[in-house]
């Protein structure tokens, strides 16, 4: 077992890669009574075109299948796994993103039993045509619920605008129609391809004894047999740098228009430290341009162009990403214009120097240290970083290394006019004068 100490942060991380390929990380937290564990596969909604395990030919699977599979993992021949976790005093859950499917629990007791339940239920698929059919009603209601959420429609509408071919543009849950095509056989194919231990990470954080927990996980995994690990062949289409759709508007039952300006980054296949540096530099650049202390924010807020719903976000994964800036607003066109103007000005003349960087860097370090109070943040973010060959605990040292030209260089990859698009949600016409 490897032990890595982060002295300034007062944290120690334990790690081992097991014989079957599973990466196990354990982070004990002093003074905590709860333990939080995530068991995550590097498999999300974008992995819809791949060569199934043991086969030669690539196949395409119905939209929404990774999320459907996540739902169905909880049902077993002898009942529902939630019941088992509840008996052991644990709250369990799961989520599917573009790139990951995570199963998790938090508990303040019976940690060995709960870790065992977590490993065992994710490693024993049970799908029948009957149980698959039954789930379609539930997921249809989940999709319908999201369909009514204007903020979700705005977010996904924007991503559809940015991407022409890449599967990131497909809603994670699929559509009510697309999930009708899902069969038990599909689920087994996806499971066998993506749920091999060598494609997964277990992260346990909280009130745990690291040596004991590592032995416990090893013993559990040693009892089971797995196929030989094979490299997973995922196929992604070519994606142009230009956006797919420049602008779109949707009418919904809202009280006030909502807008996003989205920016598609140059497709950069970063991983490891270079990805970490690029990502942090871009985040700092957007914080300076669009954060609470920016000229843009000050002007837009004081002139009633934006309200408390205002947000901006920058996200990068291997092969896709986006920057989003938006708000509820009574003047959608004006706001879109001013966001674009802010971007244009920064391209023309970079406005930030050392003092700006120092301030925003301190803010970011403080935010990171605050987040380390949260076991959920640590487990989820560490796993995301690990899948991109980055280390979460490198964030502070990397922030300290970054210089002004790094911000400028990162910004240059996600700013040009051809990479921008906008999406607007409008209240129904009859309600407007």
């Amino acid at each position: 077992m490897n032990k890595v100490q982060f002295e300034q942060l007062d944290e120690t991380l334990y790690h081992e890669k097991l014989a079957n390929g599973l990466e196990v990380y354990i982070l004990p937290k002093k003074g905590f009574s709860k333990t939080f564990a995530t068991f995550t596969t590097k498999y999300g909604s974008i992995d819809n075109h791949f060569v199934p395990y043991g086969e030669e030919e690539a196949i395409k699977v119905p939209d929404g299948i990774a999320h459907f599979l996540e739902h169905k993992m909880f049902e077993k021949e002898d009942g529902d796994v939630f019941q088992q976790f509840s008996k052991q005093g644990a709250s369990a859950n799961a989520f599917t993103s573009f790139t990951r499917t995570a199963y998790l629990f938090s508990a303040t007791g019976q940690i060995n039993e709960n870790v065992e339940t977590l490993l065992d239920f994710v490693q024993s698929p049970y799908f029948t045509e009957k149980t698959v059919e039954k789930e379609k009603g539930i997921i249809a209601q989940e999709i319908t619920m999201y369909d009514d959420q204007a903020d979700w429609r705005l977010y996904f509408g924007m991503i559809e605008n940015l991407y022409k071919n890449h599967p990131v543009k497909i809603d994670i849950a699929g559509t009510v129609d697309s999930i009708q095509d899902i069969t038990a056989e599909h689920l087994y194919t996806c499971y066998n391809t993506f749920y091999h231990p060598s494609n997964m990470v277990l992260f346990v954080v909280g009130a745990v004894d690291p040596e004991q927990m590592m032995e416990f996980v090893k013993a559990n995994q040693d009892q089971k047999t797995f196929e030989e690990p094979k490299e997973i062949k995922r196929i992604y289409p070519d994606e142009p740098m230009e956006v797919a759709i420049k602008e779109r508007t949707l009418e919904m039952s809202v009280q006030k228009p909502k807008i996003f300006v989205g920016i598609k980054p140059e497709v950069l296949h970063y991983s490891g430290k270079s990805m970490l540096k690029h990502e942090l530099a871009a985040e700092l650049a957007f914080e300076l341009l669009f954060g609470r202390t920016s000229d843009f924010y000050h002007h837009a807020y004081e002139s009633n162009l934006i309200d408390e719903s205002y947000s901006f976000d920058y996200s990068l994964e291997n092969g896709f990403g986006y920057a989003l800036i938006g708000s509820d607003t009574n003047e959608p066109e004006q706001l879109i214009k001013e966001i674009n103007h802010t971007l244009d000005q920064a391209i023309e003349k970079w406005p930030f120097g050392q003092a700006d960087l120092d301030r925003i860097r301190r803010k970011k370090i403080g935010f990171f240290l605050r987040a380390l109070n949260s076991p959920e943040f640590i487990a989820n973010q560490f796993t995301r970083y690990a899948f991109n060959e980055m280390n979460l605990f490198d964030v502070v040292p990397m922030l300290e290394e970054i210089e002004v030209p790094d911000l400028q260089a990162a910004f240059a990859t996600v700013s040009s006019a051809s990479q921008r698009s906008n999406f607007t949600i409008m209240p129904p016409k009859k309600d407007r004068q």
Partner: protein, 424 residues
């Protein structure tokens, strides 16, 4: 967990000295009566105070100094509990020991003082442009509830079920009352907040209780104050209509049901009612989830919740607009099971285990510690989690059935998609 120190009549400091967190958390809670007028005015006040002040006269200047203090978070929010309205100054700052810089804490304490006592004023009033802008912000906040249909449906149901009752008054007040708020009134509310409101101050982090309490006493010098005046009555009266249906342009129907129970937070049966809610619909093993979602495949979410301050229980479900009748019938069938004590040992054990887990987990965050302590302090100054846990453990199925029998369904509210285009 917390050590309490009275620094003036009606002003208490509660400190939990702990190394569990990398940060130090402060909450200053100013408690007043809950009325729609006060809620509206105090929400604007909260925003005006967090916008800027005499020392940092613009929003940008204040936010920049917070960035410099390692992204110290500072915000003031409006909330309500029972018939109280609470304005809270929340501050979280990184413990110096994780930084290469010292003296951050003292600067943060100074900033909190400035935020509370040195507002941005002009000729005895708050700066007019800031007052107007923040009034607008609260208006937008109230209006934005419409965009989130679950919250909107809950609000509409409460307005129909208990008009004028503290349970249906929003923490941000109402558009009607907000419209009437003047700058002069805001100044009065500000003076009341500082000089008349009861104040509970919470501190969680690696800090000495005596040191921080005397610091706050010397530096903030809050005057003594009397107990707050009586608030609105929280007595429940049955609504005139028991079923309301409204329509919006949406795909999913939102079913909300309201029940009355005589068991409130202050009742000795309170822990029984918490378990009753858990068995019926609090969790993924609960009757509503297992039967309405898993067996019938009718809903993605279906759950119950217990508003113990007033003695209310709610059931919420997102369903196909055509299936309201069926959903109500199935939900009431499950309630009937609980009333007949058809509860397995497993269900009872699971619910106890999860309630206990939830409480212990909440205590693993500084905010959770503050919220729980602030709530339970009313029952027992020396509140300890184990006390509540022992109460839950003693509850039987018969106790739960008895509590369920006392529930009365008072309102079924349905927010449906437009009739002509309901989903297939």
């Amino acid at each position: 967990m917390f050590q309490s120190i009275k620094i003036a009549q009606g002003v208490n400091v509660h400190v939990n000295e702990t190394t569990q967190f990398k940060t130090i958390n402060f909450s200053f809670k100013f408690k007043d009566r809950l009325t729609p007028e006060k809620a509206s005015a105090r929400s604007v006040l909260a925003n005006v105070l967090q916008h800027s002040n005499e020392v940092y006269p613009s929003h940008t200047a204040l936010r920049m100094v917070l960035d410099d203090l390692y992204g110290t978070s500072l915000y003031i929010d409006s909330s309500k509990r029972g018939n109280e309205h609470i304005v809270t100054l929340n501050v979280e700052t990184v413990n110096d020991q994780y930084l290469s810089e010292e003296g951050v804490l003292e600067k943060v304490l100074n900033l909190m003082y400035v935020v509370l006592f040195k507002p941005n004023m002009e000729n005895g009033l708050f700066k007019e442009s800031i007052f107007l802008r923040e009034k607008q912000t609260i208006k937008e906040r109230i209006e934005s509830i419409f965009d989130e249909k679950t919250r909107y449906a809950q609000q509409r149901m409460m307005e129909h079920a208990l008009p004028g009752h503290p349970a249906s008054i929003q923490a941000n007040g109402s558009l009607e009352e907000l419209e009437k708020v003047t700058n002069e009134q805001l100044v009065k509310e500000y003076e009341t907040l500082l000089n008349k409101n009861e104040i509970e101050i919470y501190v969680v982090g690696d800090i000495k209780p005596d040191m921080i309490a005397s610091y706050i006493k010397e530096y903030f010098h809050f005057e003594g104050r009397d107990q707050a005046v009586e608030g609105l009555s929280t007595e429940l009266k049955s609504p005139e209509e028991s079923r309301v249906i409204e329509y919006e342009d949406m795909k999913q129907g939102k079913l909300h049901m309201a029940f009355f129970t005589p068991i409130t937070f202050r009742d000795e049966k309170f822990p029984v009612m918490q378990l009753m809610n858990g068995v019926l619909g609090g969790y993924a093993h609960s009757k509503l989830f297992v039967n309405i979602r898993e067996k019938e495949s009718m809903a993605y979410y279906v759950s119950s919740s217990y508003a113990s301050q007033f003695g209310l229980m709610f059931i919420l479900a997102g369903i196909d607009s055509k299936l309201e009748g069926k959903a109500v019938k199935l939900i009431l069938e499950q309630l009937e099971e609980v009333r007949k004590a058809n509860i397995s040992d497993v269900e009872l054990g699971q619910t106890k285990a999860l309630l206990i887990n939830q409480l212990k987990e909440a205590l693993d965050s500084a905010r959770g510690q503050i919220d729980i302590y602030d709530q339970y302090m009313e029952l027992d100054e020396a509140f300890e989690p184990d006390y509540l846990i022992s109460k839950w453990n003693a509850v039987t199925k018969e106790d739960i059935a008895e509590a369920a029998q006392q529930l009365s369904l008072e309102m079924t509210y349905f927010l449906a998609g437009k009739e002509d285009d309901s989903v297939e």
